[in-house]
Symmetry: C2
Subunit: 440 residues, 2 copies
Amino acid sequence: MQDIPLTVTRLLVHGALAHGTSRITTWAGTAGGAEPDRRTFLEAGVRAIQLAGALHDEFGVEPGDPVATLMANTADHLEAYLAVPSMGAVLHTLDPWLPADQLVAAARLGGARVLLTDPAGLAPLASVLPRLTHLRHVIVAGGSESAAVVPGTAYSAEVHDYELLIDDRRKRYDWPEIDERDAAVLCHTTSAHAAPRGVAYSHRALYLHALQAQTPQAYGIGVGDLVLPVVPMSRMLAWGLPYAAFAGGASLLLPGIYDQPAPLAEMSERERPTLAVADPATWDGLLEELATRPRDLSCLHEAVVVGGPGEDPGGPLLAQELGWRHGISTAAAWGAPETLSPACVARTEGGGADEAGRYRFPASVEYGVLGPDLAPLPWDGESQGELLLRGPWITASYVEETGQPAPLHEGWLRTGETATISPDGRVAMKPPKEPSPEGR
Amino acid sequence: MQDIPLTVTRLLVHGALAHGTSRITTWAGTAGGAEPDRRTFLEAGVRAIQLAGALHDEFGVEPGDPVATLMANTADHLEAYLAVPSMGAVLHTLDPWLPADQLVAAARLGGARVLLTDPAGLAPLASVLPRLTHLRHVIVAGGSESAAVVPGTAYSAEVHDYELLIDDRRKRYDWPEIDERDAAVLCHTTSAHAAPRGVAYSHRALYLHALQAQTPQAYGIGVGDLVLPVVPMSRMLAWGLPYAAFAGGASLLLPGIYDQPAPLAEMSERERPTLAVADPATWDGLLEELATRPRDLSCLHEAVVVGGPGEDPGGPLLAQELGWRHGISTAAAWGAPETLSPACVARTEGGGADEAGRYRFPASVEYGVLGPDLAPLPWDGESQGELLLRGPWITASYVEETGQPAPLHEGWLRTGETATISPDGRVAMKPPKEPSPEGR
């Protein structure tokens, strides 16, 4: 067989050329007759090449260097997703909705000299910019670079306008040869009580996950779909949708800063996505919005509800409401920063309501449950233990700077999630047992 | 990220455990009230482990050794698909429908000391057995081992019954560590005019293809599907269906020796497959059968028609007949022994009949067309040239014994297929130009 590495570069080139006519629509609200920003995969791909050229030529970004984003879900953000890893650099996605102290800690963890931001990131950035002494260049997308200049604060970063930066830039880039095990993206855990812990995803991991995410086990998407990631691209890679959609030719509807129930309902009715991925609170809010102001969302084949360890993925009530009232099937996706997400997906398989919250894993994720003595438990649907995972897109360690070992047991990731496994291989996540008041 | 190799072993273990309740149904005809053979993925997985144990313990099969099959599409054959590569050995699929001389040449190319066969392979095997002097052990599945003993021929191979061989065998196997770039399966080209050329598929290639084959770009299959590979498992790995289905939990309907139109219609009406893959002649035959004796095939979401370089994949007439008369959507799949197949798939995308035969490739296959001077041609839908392919499941060379270089140009496979590429990235395969009688 030919020895071709599995890289984000390949996803970029493939999406831009083989699916050049697929579309990225970024919502811009409806005030003043605003129209969404629309560009094709080919246009986004060419702009990603131009961005790579600018990062290299203007700022000296080289393979291995971190480049940060602090952005909403937009086509510009997707271009950074594609450009930065393809040039061998490491994309570090920072979350504009983090508290200032956590944002500073996360930004320092990555240490990027160059950061891309947009209207969603400007205010949070302004509040922490003086503390980001490692930052040299801020690139502002969305045409509002002047807002980044906050009077009276002292910082050393230069501010650049994204459009001016890539305008007239060369449309070819001599992509470096990349080892598929090299880091492509850096994400981090967040906590109010602990320092952020960084997780580096390799090109190989992202490529394999982008394939898996297209299968019916995960999202089941391809050409002809329009997918709406409401989950932010600034956290856990928007649950894998951007890379999977770009690789598979599924068009993208990106909400920009309009991720509240009313504009989500509005953009869904107008643009007609076939699949949307959001957290339970967003789906609840959307249901309330629809109760107040009904809209036709029959376009949605599936509503994916996301959740992580210890979280409630909405449960059967949310699924019933979406299904009975609006005719929308639901799936629950489970993930964590320590694994590319979703790691597993639950949907009913014709067995009725009992099946809610029973997850299936793909071939790339081995799983098991361990008892308190760390012995493997049987797959009997009853034995409850900690869920352990192993596979090519699951972390082996946190990035070194954080000095914390990943929670591993003999090479397997300990998720901290309590689960049972049925004889049919499906996994039920259990809420942590309440300690009995009687101590029993 | 954890460094986990991409292997057939993982597909075996995952399918058997995570999809243990998915089913393999092997048709056995209807004569005398015969019932199909039914087993679960878990049962097949355990039997594959037992087969690996028998191959190792009884016949000394070690990693790297070839093991041949000469079998129809059956659950037993699938067990060999899983067992042989998982133990590090190399599965060599031989085609019972080859002319004797080609069968001998192919068998010698692989050089397997051990061969599994079944009622479909017994007669062809008997006719060539005296010439297969390298063969030491013949394992006969399907309970008819005595038929292999052909009176009056001289050969040295011992004959074993598959069921007796694995009966009571241990249900654990200490799988070896496998380099994902090692060979897992050996296939070969066939021709009446040339020696067979062997193509070795690596574990990595098979794993990546098994993922891709599950996506909507290819078959779009998963739990809840029942897939019917009419294309033989003895050629080109039945177009990737067995590994993809086992990895994704899609149940399998295997026709055994009953791959003629009447039993195919019969098993489809009774077992209700959701997807079937066959060559144009089989689909034509099935349509004739249905015209004579109508049956309800509304279960089929998609009929996949396969074809290779220079072949006609049935064209719009077959698609119209299946669609208009029976309400079955069609897809055309293109492949060749030099690439895991399908390499690309064509289906309409809402653009009408013009779209027939316009193929989409996945991210793992780079493609382009070259002119006669080997210069790349533009993607304008008009420039016609030779289709070249590159990717992790495309061959870099034929196996050494055949002494023939693969048709490569700067690392890309030359397919010999004439094609154009549209601006939207889709590829149209063209029949070879007829030489003009006037020489123009």
